[in-house]
Amino acid sequence: MSLLSNLLGMARGSGAARDSEQSAQRMAEWDQALQSGRLPSFVEARLAAAAAGKVPWVATMSAAEFGLARGKGVRPLAMVSGTCWLHYGYSWTRGHAEGWRTALARLQHEARAVGANAVVDVKMRTVRLAVGESMDFTLLGTAVRIDRMPEATHPIVATVPALEFVRLIEAGITPVGIALGAQYQFLDPGVGMLMQSILGGSGGGGRIAMTSSSAARVQGSSRPFTNAVLPELSQFWEGIRRAAVAELLRDVQRQGTGVLAHTQLGQLFRVEQNNSPPRFLGRHIVIGTVVNTRRAIPVPHEIRAALDMRGTASPLSHSPPAGRHAYPANEQGGAI
């Protein structure tokens, strides 16, 4: 790698040193591409070259993952991404669902362009830049071609790393995509009823009729010395969680037979209001990897029990320390 060669590479048009006209042209291409659901010509060219093996393949896989995946007929092609920066002026929660779904569709688009039938090791990323009520939703992954699987118009998207992906395939479990459920609701004790979000109604949380209740009763502060269940708040929060999981389930039903490894984010806020009792906002998001598998398929792997002499210091019972790829963000200097 030499500085000169890199700069030459830039000058050839793939990289930097663009004049503003080129830059504007590039922006116009992006604009058109995002509006019409296509890819800009330079992205298409990169992915086509990767598909034809004219440029080196690029993989987020570790050396071990690459070695094992290759032995199983999984060949890396290119790194693909999907980005959507969404302003959630109407609803934070629905915005999150929409942002991730758009990013997912774009990631799949790139994967199709490179001739992949799957994308593995899909990571959810965000660039932390405060721009009003908005957020960056980015998915990054490695597009791969699995020799045993047919060409796909909808490449499989798996959030699991290549190593686990191979294990799943071996065990007759096919990861097929990502499912998502997101719900939010407001509880307004002053009004005495549950205000359900307008769009969030699709989640099936339902309108839970409540008797007139004061903010104090909802929070348990009317009887501060008594142990008591807070039924309204419990019911409210449980309703949101159930609705989010129900939405996840519907998303799974469209794609496969089950969901694994889901991550969830739940938040319950007390929102202070002027001259009226506080109200509550609950929001819950669940995201997981959808799999397709028949019931009771035997797992071919032998599993050995190991008694690790290192006891609690065992690397088997803890996640390993960050490898050399995980450059820790320097407190002063930021990321690498």
């Binding site: 992006w30 393949w57 690459f66 070695g67 959507c84 609803s91 660039v127 032998e302 002063q332 990321a335």
Partner: protein, 273 residues
């Protein structure tokens, strides 16, 4: 306490540094863990010394136009050149000790306290040589190879029939346009994509990735493993972000090993807890 004569003679000599003076098999330095050391040796390599390269760099000032998505080329080049200098110096050290390559390279950027425009770039890794002097493991142009793979990953990569060529990277410092007030007002009360931001991130990431891929092509690599894309800001304005793609370019070991040589891993369940 056991007598010092219990230790093999050559080990004692090494401990005392007797073989250190100008002797190629003298004391080595490394930042390997025990397991890394064992696996590098298992792969047929010996560590010979820590290789370090650093570069303290004054990064100039470049402002992006308030409402425009654009790359800040001057900053991109600064970030690239400084890293490249640190890497080149590290590689020179390795060449000086006749290493075949450097494994476990860590590349860090640190801000110095007294001036926000001065950044310290450091590259550090362990120089290794093939134990039997095999000549086929050098990087491009006969230079030592560089790789951010750990000792464990290095062993695994060789088992899979590939060898590292060099660490490849691509940097793009980008100014993300601010959204105009009128456009912001238009979005009040509804969920809408801010396409200019989406475009900016896409474009910056694409440029960083293309540059890294260019380097891999120049190096004659078949592919790049362990790629990651970092986003960072080095005390720039809030809308200025660096996208940095880095990975290890690899090439097959001609006719020596094939991928099927990598044994299927045994699944193990810890019964301790």
């Amino acid at each position: 306490m056991s007598d010092v004569t219990d230790i093999p003679v050559h080990a004692v000599e090494r401990l005392r540094g007797l073989r250190g003076d100008g002797h190629p098999e003298g004391i080595f330095t490394s930042d390997f863990s025990v397991n890394e050391f064992l696996l590098v040796r298992k792969a047929g390599f010996e560590p010979i010394g820590l290789c370090i390269g650093s570069c303290i760099y004054h990064v100039g000032i470049q402002y992006g136009s308030w409402s425009k998505n654009q790359e800040l080329e001057s900053l991109s080049q600064a970030m690239y050149e400084a890293r490249e200098l640190a890497m080149a110096r590290m590689r020179e050290e390795a060449a000086g000790m006749a290493a075949d390559g450097i494994v476990g390279v860590e590349l860090t950027v640190k801000r110095l306290e007294w001036d926000q425009h001065i950044l310290e770039f450091m590259a550090i890794g362990t120089g290794v040589v093939h134990a039997k002097g095999h000549p086929g493991y050098k990087g491009p142009q006969g230079q030592p190879f560089t790789s951010d793979l750990s000792g464990q990953d290095f062993w695994t990569l060789l088992q899979a029939g590939y060898r590292p060529l060099e660490m490849v990277m691509g940097s793009c410092v980008y100014h993300v346009a601010h959204q105009g007030m009128l456009r912001s007002l238009g979005n009040v009360g509804r969920n809408a994509e801010l396409t200019n931001f989406s475009q900016a991130l896409y474009d910056a990431r694409e440029i960083a990735m293309e540059r890294m891929q260019n380097e891999a092509t120049e190096a004659g690599a078949e592919g790049v493993v362990g790629v990651d894309l970092h986003e960072g800001s080095h005390n720039w304005q809030p809308h200025v972000i660096e996208f940095f793609a880095v990975g290890t370019a690899v090439t097959p070991i001609a006719g020596e090993r094939d991928g099927s040589a990598l044994p299927d891993p045994q699944l193990v369940l810890s019964v301790n807890s």
